[in-house]
Subunit: 348 residues, 4 copies
Amino acid sequence: MSDQKIKVVVVGASGYTGQELLRLLIMHPLVDLVAVTSRTEKDRLLTDVFPRFAGAPSVKDLRFSDPDVDALAATGAEFAFLALPHGVASEFAVPLLEKGFRIVDLSADFRLNCPDIYEEFYGSPHPAPDLLKDAVYGLVETYREEVAGAKLVASPGCYPTSILTPLIPLVKNGFIKPESINVASLSGTSGAGKKAAVPFLFVEVNESLRAYGAPKHRHLSEIEQELSIAAGSEVKISFVPHLMPVNAGIATTIFAELTGVPATIQSCLEAAYADCPFVRILGEGTFADTKNVVRTNFVDIGWVIDERTNRLIISSAEDNLGKGAGSQAIQCFNVMHQFPETTGLLNF
Amino acid sequence: MSDQKIKVVVVGASGYTGQELLRLLIMHPLVDLVAVTSRTEKDRLLTDVFPRFAGAPSVKDLRFSDPDVDALAATGAEFAFLALPHGVASEFAVPLLEKGFRIVDLSADFRLNCPDIYEEFYGSPHPAPDLLKDAVYGLVETYREEVAGAKLVASPGCYPTSILTPLIPLVKNGFIKPESINVASLSGTSGAGKKAAVPFLFVEVNESLRAYGAPKHRHLSEIEQELSIAAGSEVKISFVPHLMPVNAGIATTIFAELTGVPATIQSCLEAAYADCPFVRILGEGTFADTKNVVRTNFVDIGWVIDERTNRLIISSAEDNLGKGAGSQAIQCFNVMHQFPETTGLLNF
Amino acid sequence: MSDQKIKVVVVGASGYTGQELLRLLIMHPLVDLVAVTSRTEKDRLLTDVFPRFAGAPSVKDLRFSDPDVDALAATGAEFAFLALPHGVASEFAVPLLEKGFRIVDLSADFRLNCPDIYEEFYGSPHPAPDLLKDAVYGLVETYREEVAGAKLVASPGCYPTSILTPLIPLVKNGFIKPESINVASLSGTSGAGKKAAVPFLFVEVNESLRAYGAPKHRHLSEIEQELSIAAGSEVKISFVPHLMPVNAGIATTIFAELTGVPATIQSCLEAAYADCPFVRILGEGTFADTKNVVRTNFVDIGWVIDERTNRLIISSAEDNLGKGAGSQAIQCFNVMHQFPETTGLLNF
Amino acid sequence: MSDQKIKVVVVGASGYTGQELLRLLIMHPLVDLVAVTSRTEKDRLLTDVFPRFAGAPSVKDLRFSDPDVDALAATGAEFAFLALPHGVASEFAVPLLEKGFRIVDLSADFRLNCPDIYEEFYGSPHPAPDLLKDAVYGLVETYREEVAGAKLVASPGCYPTSILTPLIPLVKNGFIKPESINVASLSGTSGAGKKAAVPFLFVEVNESLRAYGAPKHRHLSEIEQELSIAAGSEVKISFVPHLMPVNAGIATTIFAELTGVPATIQSCLEAAYADCPFVRILGEGTFADTKNVVRTNFVDIGWVIDERTNRLIISSAEDNLGKGAGSQAIQCFNVMHQFPETTGLLNF
């Protein structure tokens, strides 16, 4: 089995997303982690930066290095995860692809099909627009075949994954009115990243709950892109993210009007996700709880019908660092290598 | 000033709402707390049940007593706060009113005008339907005069206060379409009460976020009643409560379509609450944070306009035990006695 | 490899310790989990009681059963984990041993060598004193060989593991005065179990820190037993447990006078744990942090020398449900089967 | 009563200590807050920096100003609270005293009698050694008369208050052996201040418990100074602070050998604190809980006797921002003005 192992590098691995990605790669039976880069942590042992990983034999002597493309290529690696800020990821994706790497990028750089939308939501011109047509949006449940054959996969954003997973089949099948969708999502504080800033100090977040970022959070761009594809026409929704005092997890509540098409939500979702091991349909009358999904790659989906207002109310939960980032990236990696999709990801 | 003091009893004071109410009454300069009742804590010192209050001279020797109406009347008290479960409050309200007490009831028993709605939402016939016509809904900002003259005030529910305060003026003035309203609210865990139950153990709530109670939470009944009065026609909305891992606080996010009436939200809210010291209009582009309102009687209101979808997104915050329960009850008490509305409530 | 798998049952699996044990057994490559018992959850699907485990193929159809010894034997299983309250565990250990099971018991029933000490600390006569001489105290780092050959292993208590691991080598080598030892330990709230009780409600534990159980917490009995063995003479210490507002983790701080024997703490600990993959010696000048060990089987140990008072101050951390319970039990299981000690336990 | 009001300025008011101090000053009936300074928040409204205080009529228009001594004197104020870092406080204390201000300094600058000890623990020469002889250590319970007459009071540190309050009477009366004292203290994260730093991000502190700062935390210097005074001879102790995931509160556990002097701890503590409204003696067999003291000026003290080891184990709790900083400073202020000691401080 060890000659099957894929040599992997992680570029930009010192944040919370990087940490979760590394945690899973260390445990992945078909991964050989050969390099991790970080400008800020350069030359430090991985286990000094992340003491949790001390005791993992495979990374005992691994040190953070500068993100140098030639050096990464010289390791013999053929696969790269990019856990970099948007804008920066492109700088590495272009030369790494040229060196023959296949890539899963966890930033927003390759999620949008249209560079203008990127500029509208991210505030600067897209850094590598030519690559957009080749990049695949890494929602495996929707794009499994495209992901399998891709050289460059854009791992979806954390909020979008929790919103798109329940909505895509329902919109595609015409069970809800796309223009009626309102979404309130709550994210654990790791979603804000590992940067020193007063608003994310313990005392500021603990015993606090606050909305932010509405009405035009960056993730709205990819949510609307994918809903529009599912609907076959342009969709605009309202989306309000909130910061909640937990380390990890996203809870999403969606309001949408039913179209009246006689159908059960249950059968629609079950049909869509019959072969998807990471989507757990909890069923009608249930609500998803973040504590059941943190540190996993699962998305849980529950819902109720509000007959009084003719609305469907959906509740979904995932880990913002897991299915919303690190483990979803590895799910893409597995599919890109025809490994069983759950390889290294059935950690409870 | 001490001959002005009102002799007060609190019936059912051993839960979290009772504790917050007592905390404020102990500090209230015009209150003489003469009796507190609790069946479960009978005969125990108040300061043994609530060690925080040890050191408050005025309650040094106060013990919980059985809730006996004659005994309460014999104290010479003239005012009662009822912090009892719904259904039970009525049992005490009726004889206490007969004894001449004025009452603020913190339960749901007298919030609804229509006993049928009570039965629909609470699952049993209303225990004292004759009293409903005399009871005043204790949202002082809306019913100040009625509260001032009332003998029986029903202190509003925690979720409703956070939802109605921003919505009533906007609905009344026709700025939003009532049928388009969707509400996601999050409550601190004290909202679940002080009862021993596994789902509210620390381990179950900490690092967890979950919706519950939709689509027909009990509080929906009073929310729709008051919105319908404001709109002048029947209003139905969708409402999803959530449990969040903080001790206290409610954060509410409201989605509603704008009608297109050319008006500013700011001026509408400012006009409505010009003389209301406990409503803080944060302004457009802001989001309310529960940490700024816990342990106070304030409701904070922020909002944004989502031009892309023509929706108004409102964010409000209050303390579920404060403006949502205990301090709002005292606000009513102040108004009922023509005391300055903020007496004993400007505690930050 | 699958014909190597050991058929395993878990008796009493519905609490927090049971949940963590099951989590690890589900991921263990050499375990075939054939039965889980719980009186309170009888007949329910494992995945309904613990929704986190939904999606684990191996337990898809597993239901809780009544704890019936004959039925457990009929499964063909040969190994049992007992995650029962003290006193109750013995009732099952005796007949299961007779049926030929090997056992790791996570209760306190078989940790003490002397039934009188059991009675002194646990308040009732020992239920199966004849078994005590055969039971092995499952601190693998100290009793590896005895554990390997045992039929009945008593998995150590959570606090004791965090205290004994750093202290045993230091006491054995005479570097500290045993009678000078003072210990303050803090436990996550899962240590209090999954029972409905007001003191462990979220609101009571959150934003709270309190000592309890001193001066004679039950775990003191096994701590002193093992320290006395290490010292070669009777040792008595002071021990104060505290409840802290986190789900899992134990942080222990130990004060002890140095004897003046010229030696380095570092070399003593390193020598003692050279072949122990789960003991991480952080080194002098460091402090262990619970967040680095939760959900693992590691114990982290740091320390400083207080030259002003001639004391050694040790800081250790572990997961009360992990190295303090579930994963330590599996470590024993691995050793009992000559599996690599880390099998199924290198989950970060 | 308003002509009794004291005009007060707060220098350095933008941190967590400053916020708690301001909260209490706003509610204090005999304080007229005329200026607040902060270099970083200069010109901003107090209520913009601290939105909780919006709605307090008395500070409606108050803005942060630069800390200019002449400008502060020009306000007509006669009293200054200094909530500045150590070293910086002296720079303002000297000229403010010259202008006739009386001062409570919340920094460490004037807590030590000996400049050499200051230099040993704080790492730089004392900035104003001549003032040390005039400064009074503001532990009102021990130095009430000296505080009453002082021009410059050094408000004690947070950890020291929780340690000295129970220990001083016991050491003074010879009931415990001073050289046997070991102390483990835990502080809420506000104790780390409001500075942007990764180790104090929510994700780093939540679900974490860690010791730090031993063996020579700065507060040890004032603890040992005051214990030595109480003992009448030099005392050295071991002290280990810990960071805990709560916003506020200090829990302290003290181990000390009994001398065998026949006496009850209870009567010793009760006698010492008979006239001290803020010291609550919980009694033998009890443990103090931080949740009962946060946002108050109380110190709670419980203890047990460990007969097996002849040790006394004390448990104390206070609010690190309250009795450990802001409210203790106001207690000093009250005593300095012959106001009732509890004025403005009986907030539960």
